[in-house]
Amino acid sequence: MTNSHKKTLFSHDLPATPMDPALQASRDQKIKVAMIGLCGCWGCTLSLLDMDEALIGLLDKVTILRSSLTDIKRIRQRCAIGFIEGGVANEENIETLKEYREHCDILISVGACAIWGGVPAMRNEVELSSCLEEAYVDSITAVANAIPTIPYHEDIPRITTKVYPCHEVVKMDYFIPGCPPDGGTILKVLDDLVNGREFDLPTTMNRYD
């Protein structure tokens, strides 16, 4: 996202404390994994953490660069496996997704929102203007006597006319349906890829809800 305010600092540009060299060296050996959220509800990103203790076993092999714990959207280093939650609903999502694609060897759509737009895509059936009016002008929860305003500011990413699945914006390599998929399902995919096996989602693990 571009911004004309000189003072604006994005989370991905924040200075970070240099890491202990030994720790950094051990991390450099590991397979880099990340999960970034676009227009979703956090459910899918939480499912990644829902692998519980299985995650600890995997940490010998992988290091997680991005997750819901920091919610930093941009990635500036090469990443082996990138998971993505949510579809594309604004211009900032497009930029994030394109940059993510450039930095990831394998990019995976996780969940209904990333795969087809999900709940946010329900607005695709109506005009964007009536959607915004319903939310901000004619909303039953609108503040009484306030002038109804549809938010517009250069710091607010411009909303896209429709919500798009990720694979309609960049090439996605694999898909894990579900709303959200179980932690175990994401684990199965991650474990296969980390250990050099092919992506394979068995029928019994495939869920659209």
């Binding site: 795969i115 087809w116 695709n124 059936e125 699945p165 349906p177 495939n206 659209y208 809800d209």
Partner: protein, 233 residues
């Protein structure tokens, strides 16, 4: 009359005139279906059961077996074609499974899992459909109708024999309609029958929604394939 056909390269003995979907199931070969209901007159609308019969593609539910027939089901190209048909149904309607009352007991969803659909190869269309909520105990969620015609052909008014459901319009203008007067005269059992008969979540019984916990729903207990092969629909 006892005859022999070749099913996926295997000789199989069966009775002349039997339905190909049933014959295949009896011999352990699952052919996915959405509109076909064993024992009811064939509709042949959904085409999901497309297989090769004597080298030509045919909807298996419309085929009565005859001696010497050569049938192929489990070939990669045929499986991919059936998968494409399923994918088309998903993008033609608006199938938001996470918010659907039928989820977990929906034939379309269950067959989607069986054919291994993760994401349709076609772009989503998001065509708006007006839902019909006018009848007292039934509502039609038209986003999900696949035009199988089960409701049209199998549900009739118990007194007059008239159709209660009809399809109006053609092509992209086609929509399922309900005769509200007749619908309001349906017995509770018939309302339930209609809702269960609908292979997707289009015919919905009002007041009955997410009444079964996730993990205990129809196709979570037993997959659509298992049910078909065990004759347990």
């Amino acid at each position: 009359m006892s005859i022999q056909i070749t099913l996926d390269g295997r000789p199989v003995s069966t009775q002349a005139g039997a339905n190909l979907v049933d014959v295949a199931a009896e011999h352990g070969v699952y052919i996915p279906t959405l509109c076909y209901l064993k024992g009811k007159p064939c509709l042949g609308t959904c085409r999901i059961c497309s297989v090769s019969v004597n080298g030509r593609i045919a909807a298996a539910c419309t085929v009565s077996v005859s001696d010497g027939m050569i049938v192929a089901v489990d070939e990669p190209a045929l499986a991919d074609m059936r998968k494409a048909l399923i994918e088309m149904l998903f993008i033609e309607g608006n199938h938001n499974c996470p918010s659907c009352e039928k989820s977990g007991r929906c034939d379309l969803q269950a067959v989607g899992y069986d054919v291994g659909m993760l994401v349709p190869r076609f772009p989503y269309r998001f065509t708006p459909h007006q839902r019909e909520v006018g009848a007292e105990r039934i509502w039609l969620e038209r986003d999900r109708c696949i035009f199988c015609q089960r409701c049209v052909d199998y549900i009739h008014d118990q007194h007059s024999g008239q159709k209660i459901f009809t399809i109006k319009g053609r092509g992209s203008n086609a929509r399922i309609e309900i005769d509200k007067t007749l619908a309001d005269q349906m017995s509770a059992e018939q309302v339930r029958e209609a809702a269960e008969l609908c292979p997707v979540g289009c015919i919905i019984e009002k007041g009955v929604g997410f009444n079964r916990p996730i993990g205990e729903r129809k196709f979570e207990i037993k997959s659509v394939r298992q049910r078909a092969l065990e004759d347990d629909v």
